[in-house]
């Protein structure tokens, strides 16, 4: 009987060996992926086990942590709080015990919770000395005064909209506002009132979609503001030698290959106008013709240099703006005045203004200046980075003078600032079936100081369903907001 007994012994040994191998697979090979699985409750527990690090604007935290009221089922110790939550929500995103995290709260979660590998040594030291784990800080590039000007401006305009301000020379994001917004504090916890607040903010319950980050994630037809890109394409491709050369464009202008006339808004001097005059009065005919003359490939190439067709990682991802790739000649003309399928995020149009202001150099937009360890050592510093050169510095200066004319004598007078030179472009984009919906009011601009530096470029869009249709024009609705944002930046530099 002993031979089968020995075999059974081997069999039992194999059973144990199989279990040992499975355990090694589970607790060694798969351990990290199981441990860091977002659905693993321990990830959330760790995220809220200590006060989170803060997101910092202008030296002051805009976030905080408070101890949660705990009962048997709530295993999370701390809860996120926000100062001026609705104003900063497009920057911070949210960190909710029940609903996860997004944007900076999610992207820099490792630093904020203190779990990042770069904090490993420190954490180990803390563990030995018995100190609780601490989170690091995320220092942003934002300018609190500019953000407030942008958010207040949008709120007072009464419509949905967004505003983005950039520092043209570095690409730092100075303001990033979206309206209507939401207070991430309202659903930061895990109680039923948090769940109610969350539900009410969803698009299904609130058609205004307050949780949409319009500054980064919504694309709008840019309308006439896109004429800046078309003008840049004309200059870069040598279609016209200067801003003041007559463009030889007819009025009325019939779209190529069609019998459809392209209309201007009102009776404006567009016949054979120079590019400067055409931009000043926002002539659809002139820029439509420029687009058609250049053709879709050259237009697309220029648009891409400004950042169209690619997502930006600020590090919060923005939607890709669109310039159509396949289209016929009349559509090219329409696309070149910001209609047809052209669509841009507010961030994209701010990048257009900033590239012009920065003498043709487009800087990569970013909103995280540095990541700090809990004792405020810098772990990672973002350096300004050149993204592309949409136009030569010479052509950029020509385009600047054209945009400055717009503000000085044209449609953008509402954006004038004393002691600074402002260049801008208005836009009023048609949309909806047969252009029936209320248009979007756009304004993009930059300010230049007497010393030649350019501290800020802005893009503002307001979509207003309630306003009187005639009132909507970039100059009337959006330009004053842009002006306030620029002034806030200039004043904070003093």
């Amino acid at each position: 009987m002993n031979k089968p007994l020995r075999r059974i012994a081997i069999f039992c040994g194999l059973l144990v060996l199989t279990l040992l191998m499975r355990d090694n697979w589970l607790q060694y090979l798969k351990a990290d992926s199981l441990k860091n699985d977002n659905k693993n409750r321990r990830v959330t527990i760790a995220r809220y086990s200590t006060p989170r690090g803060d997101i910092i604007v202008g030296g002051n935290p805009i976030t905080g942590s408070t101890e949660t009221k705990r009962n048997g089922l709530n295993d999370l110790k701390y809860k996120r709080t926000y100062k001026d939550g609705p104003m900063w929500a497009p920057v911070t995103g949210y960190a909710s015990q029940a609903f996860g995290a997004n944007q900076l709260e999610s992207l820099d979660d490792g630093i904020l919770t203190g779990n990042d590998d770069r904090l490993f040594f420190r954490n180990t030291l803390d563990m030995v000395t018995g100190k609780p784990k601490q989170g690091g800080n995320v220092v942003t590039t934002l300018n609190p005064a500019a953000q407030k000007a942008a958010f207040d401006g949008l709120r007072h305009s009464g419509g949905k909209g967004a505003a983005v301000a950039l520092d043209p020379s570095t690409g730092k994001i100075l303001a990033l506002a979206s309206y209507p917004s939401y207070d991430p504090s309202s659903f930061a916890g895990a109680s039923s009132s948090d769940a109610d607040a969350w539900k009410k903010l969803q698009k299904a319950d609130d058609s205004a979609d307050p949780m949409l980050n319009r500054a980064l994630r919504e694309t709008y037809p840019p309308g006439s503001t896109f004429k800046v890109v078309t003008a840049a394409a004309a200059l870069e491709n040598g279609l016209y030698g200067s801003a003041d050369q007559q463009t030889n464009s007819p009025l009325p202008y019939t779209l190529p290959d069609t019998r459809t006339e392209l209309k201007n808004e009102g009776n404006i001097p567009c016949k054979n106008a120079t590019m400067r005059v055409a931009l000043q009065y926002s002539c659809n005919t002139v820029f439509g013709k420029i687009g058609a003359d250049l053709g879709k490939d050259k237009m697309l190439a220029e648009a891409k240099k400004f950042g169209f067709d690619s997502e930006q990682f600020t590090p919060v991802r923005s939607a890709a703006s669109n310039f159509p790739k396949e289209m016929n000649r009349p559509s090219t003309a329409l696309s070149s005045i910001g209609q047809f399928e052209t669509a841009a995020t507010p961030l994209q149009m701010a990048m257009v203004a900033s590239a012009v202001a920065n003498d043709g150099k487009l800087m990569k937009p970013y909103m995280v200046d540095k990541l700090q360890s809990p004792n405020l050592d810098t772990l990672e510093q973002t350096d300004p980075q050149e993204l592309s050169r949409p136009l030569s510095s010479q052509n950029a200066q020509v385009l600047q003078s054209m945009m400055e004319t717009v503000v000085k004598d044209g449609t953008g007078k509402n954006a004038q600032i004393p002691n600074a030179t402002v260049g801008g472009k208005t836009g009023t984009a048609q949309h909806g079936v047969a252009n029936s919906a209320n248009p979007y009011a756009w304004f993009i601009s930059y300010a230049k100081m007497p010393d030649g530096s350019s501290p800020v470029a802005v893009a503002v869009v307001v979509e207003d369903e309630n306003a009187n249709r005639d009132d909507i024009s970039g100059g009337g609705l959006a330009a004053p907001i842009a002006k306030n944002v620029m002034e806030a930046v200039i004043n904070s530099k003093k």
Binding site: N2, L5, G13, L15, T18, D23, L26, Q27, L34
Partner: protein, 478 residues
């Protein structure tokens, strides 16, 4: 081989017959470790959770020490030549199990859903009962061969135990498996006791029938096919296993009984064909039942895609359980060295966290290292059991020892494999460590019987010189 030496000198001629040291002091030394390690673990949990040494430390340590001490004294008196490892290993597992159960008692989450809170004191009481039964086995079962007389009574007893959960009013359906019976405020899992009683029946039956089963066979394609009439018993056992699976929806118990029977049949007959038949029949049975039994299908689904099962349960789709995925997360989060006792979150498993899923807490808090140690302890118990079977001098003892150790090994594999996601989950518990009276009491009885057999096996033959012929017979036995 000479064995005519007189009894006053050392005997070196026969194996296991003469001169084997009793090893009782080894057992005592190991027992000290088996008590001290859980006491330290207990203090560790208290420090981690409440920042203080738990107030019950002394009484817990004394309680466990007293139980182990009494057991040891009884072994010393009534089974002096018993295997020295079995008692310390079982004590260590039982002690660690108590610590983890107490640790889960501290979980606010489990308290709030009434899955834990006062389980540890009850488990300590069950442990006392289990050790009492262990002592009773050693005192009243002077020779395991006595059990041979109760072969057919055992069969009836096992059947009754297995069918009890199906009796209306007595049985209870808990989380889909009908393996409990309620008596007063206690619930008992008769399957745990049936395991031992069935092993006694199989051992007695096979000892009588082994020659018929082994020799009367035809050779076909290299396999010895048994005669049709000899197939009877295996078919009956198979059929009972299937019945358990269908009516009690308990995959684990049915696999355990059938596996135990096939192991014992193979050892009794030395015919590999029985293993082939066994595997074929259990395969057919399992697939056949799974094709129409929704409970079994659900367990298989949860095994194949635990994440999907988790998601469905989170969405509130009825009948689904997040446990399998929660257990995997617990293991993964433990990693190599574990989070440390008292510092994990295995209470997220919620239901049955301290019984069926207790291994996940070991995994999370003691890590890969802890689980490997635990599995090796189980492996060592099985090894001692198999060694006892090898050393046993009578076929009944051999069969009983291998049946009990094989069943123990299978149970460990089925439970640990289920919790670790290697095989579908079944409703069984980890011997000794899991919360549950039936399991602890039955397994102490199992260890008691193994100790009794090992004592008989290692005991020096009485007065060898007076009857050299008898001893010669023993020497030539293979």
């Amino acid at each position: 081989m000479s064995s005519t030496t007189n009894s006053s000198t050392h005997h070196t001629s026969t194996i296991g017959a003469i001169g084997a040291p009793s090893r009782r002091n080894t057992e005592l030394a190991l027992l000290v470790f088996a008590v001290v390690i859980p006491v330290f673990a207990y203090a560790n949990v208290g420090l981690a959770i409440n920042n203080q040494v738990p107030s019950g430390l002394l009484s817990y340590g004394l309680g466990l020490g007293l139980l182990a001490g009494v057991a040891h004294v009884v072994v010393r008196k009534f089974a002096p030549y018993a295997d020295p490892l079995l008692l310390p290993l079982a004590t260590l597992l039982n002690g660690l199990g108590l610590v983890i159960i107490w640790r889960l008692d501290q979980s606010k989450l489990l308290q709030s859903i009434k899955q834990a809170g006062s389980a540890a004191p009850r488990q300590l009481m069950y442990t006392a009962l289990g050790i009492a039964l262990f002592i009773a086995v050693l005192i009243f079962l002077k020779d395991h061969r006595v059990l041979q007389r109760y072969t057919y009574i055992s069969m009836v007893g096992a059947l009754v135990l297995l069918l009890l959960p199906l009796v209306p009013g007595l049985g209870a359906n808990i989380y889909g498996a009908k393996i409990w019976i309620h008596i007063g405020s206690f619930s008992i899992q008769p399957g745990e006791f049936a395991k031992i009683v069935l092993a006694i029946f199989f051992a007695g039956y096979l000892m009588v029938k082994r020659d018929a089963l082994a020799l009367a066979s035809r050779r076909f394609m290299g396999l010895y096919l048994p005669r049709g009439r000899d197939l009877g018993p295996i078919l009956v056992v198979w059929f009972i296993s299937i019945l358990i699976l269908v009516f009690e929806t308990d995959l684990g118990t049915s696999l355990l009984f059938f596996g135990m029977f096939v192991i014992m049949l193979y050892v009794a007959t030395e015919r590999t064909s029985w293993i082939v038949f066994g595997l074929l029949m259990s395969g057919i049975g399992a697939v056949g039942v799974a094709s129409f039994e929704p409970h079994v299908q659900q367990r298989v689904q949860a095994w194949l895609d635990p994440m999907k099962e988790y998601t469905l349960s989170q969405q509130g789709v009825g009948g689904h359980s997040e446990q399998a995925m929660q257990a995997l997360w617990a293991f993964g989060s433990g990693g190599t060295l574990g989070s440390g006792l008292g510092q994990g979150h295995s209470d997220l498993i919620r239901f049955a966290a301290n019984s069926d899923f207790i291994l996940a807490t070991f995994g999370e808090e003691l890590g890969l290292a802890g689980i490997m140690a635990l599995l090796l302890i189980y492996g060592l118990i099985v090894e001692r059991g198999v060694r006892t079977a090898l050393a046993a001098r009578d076929p009944f003892g051999k069969l009983l020892a291998i049946g009990l150790s094989g069943a123990f090994a299978l149970q460990v594999f089925v439970v640990a494999g289920g919790v670790m996601g290697l095989i579908p989950l079944t409703g069984m518990t980890m011997p000794f460590v899991a919360y549950g009276g039936s399991s602890v009491i039955a397994n102490w009885a199992l260890v008691g019987i193994l100790i009794r057999i090992s004592d008989t096996a290692r005991r020096p033959a009485p007065a060898p010189a007076s009857n050299p012929d008898a001893e010669m017979t023993q020497v030539v036995r293979p």
